[in-house]
Each structure stands twice: as structure tokens, then as C-alpha cells.
Symmetry: C2
Subunit: 339 residues, 2 copies
Amino acid sequence: MSKKVTIRDIAWLAGVSVTTVSQILNGKGERFSKKTQDKIFKLRDEYGYVPDFNARSLILRRSSSMIGVLVPNISSPFFGTFVEGVQEVAQHERMIPLIFSANRNAELEQNYLSQMLERSIDGLIIASATMTTDTIDKIIGARDVPYILFDQNYAQEGTRVLTDDYHGGELAAQHLADLGHRKIALLEPRELSENFTQRLTGFKDRLAKNNIKLDMAHDVVRTPLSRQGGYDAAEAVIQTGATAAFAGNDDMAIGLMRGLSERGIKVPDQVSVIGYDNIYLDEYVSPQLTTISQPITDLGIGAAKMLLNKIHSDQTQEQIQRFPVELIQRQSTARLHEA
Amino acid sequence: MSKKVTIRDIAWLAGVSVTTVSQILNGKGERFSKKTQDKIFKLRDEYGYVPDFNARSLILRRSSSMIGVLVPNISSPFFGTFVEGVQEVAQHERMIPLIFSANRNAELEQNYLSQMLERSIDGLIIASATMTTDTIDKIIGARDVPYILFDQNYAQEGTRVLTDDYHGGELAAQHLADLGHRKIALLEPRELSENFTQRLTGFKDRLAKNNIKLDMAHDVVRTPLSRQGGYDAAEAVIQTGATAAFAGNDDMAIGLMRGLSERGIKVPDQVSVIGYDNIYLDEYVSPQLTTISQPITDLGIGAAKMLLNKIHSDQTQEQIQRFPVELIQRQSTARLHEA
DNA sequence: TTGAAAGCGCTAACAG
DNA sequence: CTGTTAGCGCTTTCAA
């Protein structure tokens, strides 16, 4: 373990005091001779001196300059993209994002949360279905660490970014109705977080406006929120006799398409499928997936900006930022063939 | 911004010294009276005291318990999965991974690297094509922060995890040869990092053993390492007149398939396509992509374990851990139709 | 132009 | 049983 070079080492090497080194390296060295300054800079580069962040923030009472980001799974295109948006903003302010993929495991999430708190992060972005604001507040406790909720949270309150899920659901429903479908199946995740509730409600409401009714007992298939879940639901969807299906997100939709195709059902000729999210994968599956688009990177950017804003301004007022959704029509939906 | 309660506050409130508080709170308080202990604990809870991580690690010279992870893009299935593997191991040892997605931007990478170093991370996992060990060593400087190289690094030295890229290339070549293909195109990224060089060399060598020769001038298409790159290369591949193509990775292969299909070329009927990596996406594109599989999560786990090992044992000896590859045959390759 | 000294919040000898 | 003292590596008065 070769010792780390400290400011003292540099000072000693240069034959000056630590003050001198500190001042110069912090850009407050106008008052020192050019010669000294050069010497210090040279030494720093030569020995690869880097100030110790701990010591520094200890004295400067500066924050840790870290923000926590809790997502269900970083390997999914959706959250991967989201996180990149967050990182982009964070980097811009020299904040370090602590990214945790908690796999929808409540215990793990709370674990990560505590760990981040110990390290006095400045703020949090939480995308979690398993935690309520109550749980979060309890863990955060007395300190005031601001946080932004994102997506899939039951929260009825709290500052957060969101998209118009209700409207997204409406768009999906209208699209299928416009194509002439009357018998429609719905793929729901097992646990309905707020955003899913919204988009599914919008969907149902709009169907109703088109005089299409959804039989809650038979037309709704509940399955895990994953490609595998969609895949496994194929049989159930076929059983409903629907000519079109709306999946709660693209992952499920893609899995469903594959399941249908393996059972000899042609998409979209026999069954139209529409998803939700517009992950980049949609363009690469076959047929390309029709979906409702959410501006994923923008959501990440928006969440991060809001958080930083909250951190800096210290305002407690609850805010909500809403992002638009739109229908992206591709090849997985088609006009109903009259039988 | 409620001020933080310090150990001194607690000590003052309890009417004892800071030592007492420190000792008790750190589980070294057997020697103190039960009464005092209880009082301290109660006060801590009441005021929500949490030790300052900075001050703590400053004095304990305890590591930050953070490891840095530098990847090109976290939103890709490949690196997303890799990172999850890393995180799994890290969490197990209560280490926090600092994950950075540097987008193959050299300046950004170095930036992130410095930031991590400032925070005295305990170790690094670097997946970067743009940095050589020289650059890395320079930035790391005198400190000895152990690091593991992963994938795509030019490095001819340094502890690292890797897969047998050469053999992977061979497998791909043999597969195409076995299917009767004689005229084969190769999709290479613009910048050839070590692993690509290996897999492409293995590929060429094995073709040669099968008496198939690759015309470097015409059969090799260079294109960016991305789906878009593969997509854009479709025309060039068609021009080569090849009946099969090997893409340097799955992303390129998937893009290529789409490009071909949009130009009316049927895969695999007219052109077989084989990729490399076995990202989960492969099963969801159509036709499903034949590829050479790398155990991505295992690579992440392996890299993290090696790093932790290196951190703890303080051994300087260079190590290499090699992971197996295998051919995964799906639907994008087929026996050559005799014309 | 420079440096000595104080101190950030905490822990760890070493004395009582 | 408990407190005193001495720092960790750094920045910042304040004095020279």
C-alpha cells in the first residue's frame, strides 16, 4: 500500500508550507511568485497529487456531492436510459450519482437507502414500486435529504417527475378502437403501481367511450412485469379471444409477441399488440412494436434537474413536472380483418 | 437546512466527554456504566445522530468502501448486465459501486477517473477502449489503487478478466464454414480494441483453415460499434456479395439484420448473420440471432471478485481470469442454398 | 510573498 | 469507569 501523497509531501518537496500549496492549488495563488506557483503545479503533476475529498469536505462543510439513484434494474433499456439522463445532469454539476439496482426487492432497497444516507448524499431519485413515501420518510428520518420520486410509485404526494399516464392509456385505447378492434385484452403487472393504474384506467375509460367494454374477469391478464411475464401470458391472451392486446409496458409486449408467435399466432394479422414506453428495443423486434412513447432520457434529465434545484434552493414546496406521451405507430398493430 | 448534530452535541447533552460517546457508539463501551451507555443511545436516537462519514474515514484511513466502475454505456444490455454482476458482489461486501457511463469519450473518462480518485475509491473496474494502461497509470499516479481491466482494452498487461475471444472468432468461422458458406463478409468496428482484434483474428485464421479466404479490401466493412453502425453497413455488405456475415458484436449484427431486411434481403435465406456477445436482446429480434455467447453477468461477478481480492490481499501480481465462450445457434444462420 | 496556528468531526492511545 | 491529548489531511484567518 504505497502511501498516498498528501499536501504535506508536496509542500516538503517544494520547500514551502502547506498553506502555500493549498492556496496555489485552489486558484487563490495570485499573491505567490510565479516561480513558486509553477513549482507547485509541476510537483503536483509529477507526483499525481489529488486532494483528499474527505478532508476537504470535512472542513468545507461541503456536501458529499453525491446523489442517490435507486432503480429496479439497471440492465433494462428503460432504466439504463433513464440513468444516463440523470448522470448527464449530475456530471454537469460535478455531482456523483450512486446508482443502485434493487431488483424490486424491498429489503435490498432499504439497505441501499441506508447506505447512501450514511454517506450523506445530497439527494435522492427513487424509482421504486415497493416503497411508499412513509417508508422513505422513516428511513430518511430527521435529516432533510430531498428526494424525487419517479415512475411507478404509489405516492400520492411528494415532488416528482411523471408522464401523463392516463392520457397514454387513452391514446393506446383510441388507436386500437380506430383500427376497428372490439375485443381487446389487457396485460397488467401483478402489482399495480400508480403509473400503471393511471395508464390502465385511461385505457379502460377510453375504450368505454368507444363503447367497447372490458370484462375485468376475462379480458385482463395479470402477469409479472417482464418479458418473461409477457411471454408466459400468451396462452391466456389467446384464450380471451381478443384481436388486440395492450401490454402495460414494452417488455411485456415484446415477450407477449414472442409467445404468440411461437403459438402460431401472427402479429399483427391475427392479434395486434401495443406496448408502452418506447424503449429502443421496439424498433428491433419483429414486427416492430407500436407503443406509447415516454421521453425516457428527458425524464432522467428532468428528475436530476429538479433534484438539484431542490437541493440548492432548499425549497420544501412540492413540485410536479409532467412530460408528454405520444403514440408511436409501428408494425405490431393493424386494422382488424373482418372475419 | 437543519444543522447536523455532532458527537460533541451528544456529549454535551449527556454531560460526558466525546470519547465516551464515541466509544459507546462504536460498540466499544463495555467498560462504561450501563447507565451512561443507555443515556448515550437514547440521546442518539432522540437527536438522530449519525456519524459523519467523512470525518470517520479520514481518521480511520478506512477506505471509502467504494469501487469505481467505468463503462462505455450503461444503457446497453451488455454493460447493464455486466454492472449488475459487479453490484451483486460489491453489495455483498458492503462496497458501493460508483458507476460511470463515459460514452467512449476519452476526456469524460479521464474526468470521471479523477473524480473517483479524489474520493479515494478502493479500486477500479475499467472497461474502456480509449484508455491505455499508461494513461490509467498516469492518472492514478503514485497511489496504488488496484484496477481490473475488462474487455475492449488494448492492454497487453494488467490484471483483468477476459474471455477467449480468439476461440470465439474460431467458433463463428467454423459455424459458417460448416454451413457451406464460402463468401463471407466481416463487420469490424472502426477502432479495434484488443478483444476485437482477437476475435477477428480467430475468425480469419479459422476461415483460412477451411480454405476460405477473406479479401481484406473488399470483404471487411468498417463501421461504428453500434446498432446504427450495423444498420448503415447493410449496403456495403450486400455489395460484397457475401452469403454470410460475422459482426463484431450483437449490436452491430442486429442493426445489420434490420438494414438487410429493409433492403429486401432475407436473413438467413439470402444472407446468414452471426453476432457476438449473446445479449438478451438476441432472442427477441427476428430472426433470433445466432451468436457467440459470453457469460456477461459472470464477467461482472468475476471482475468484482478479482478486484476485491486484490484490494484485500494487496497482492501486486498480475492475474488473468478467463471465461469460456460458446456458440449459440439460433435462426439467423442457415445452410447455404445452392444457387 | 509567505507561513504558523487553529480547527472541521471523529477515533484511539494513554492516563487517570 | 472516564477524560485528555493528539492527530487524520485539508483550508483559512492572521501575522510576519
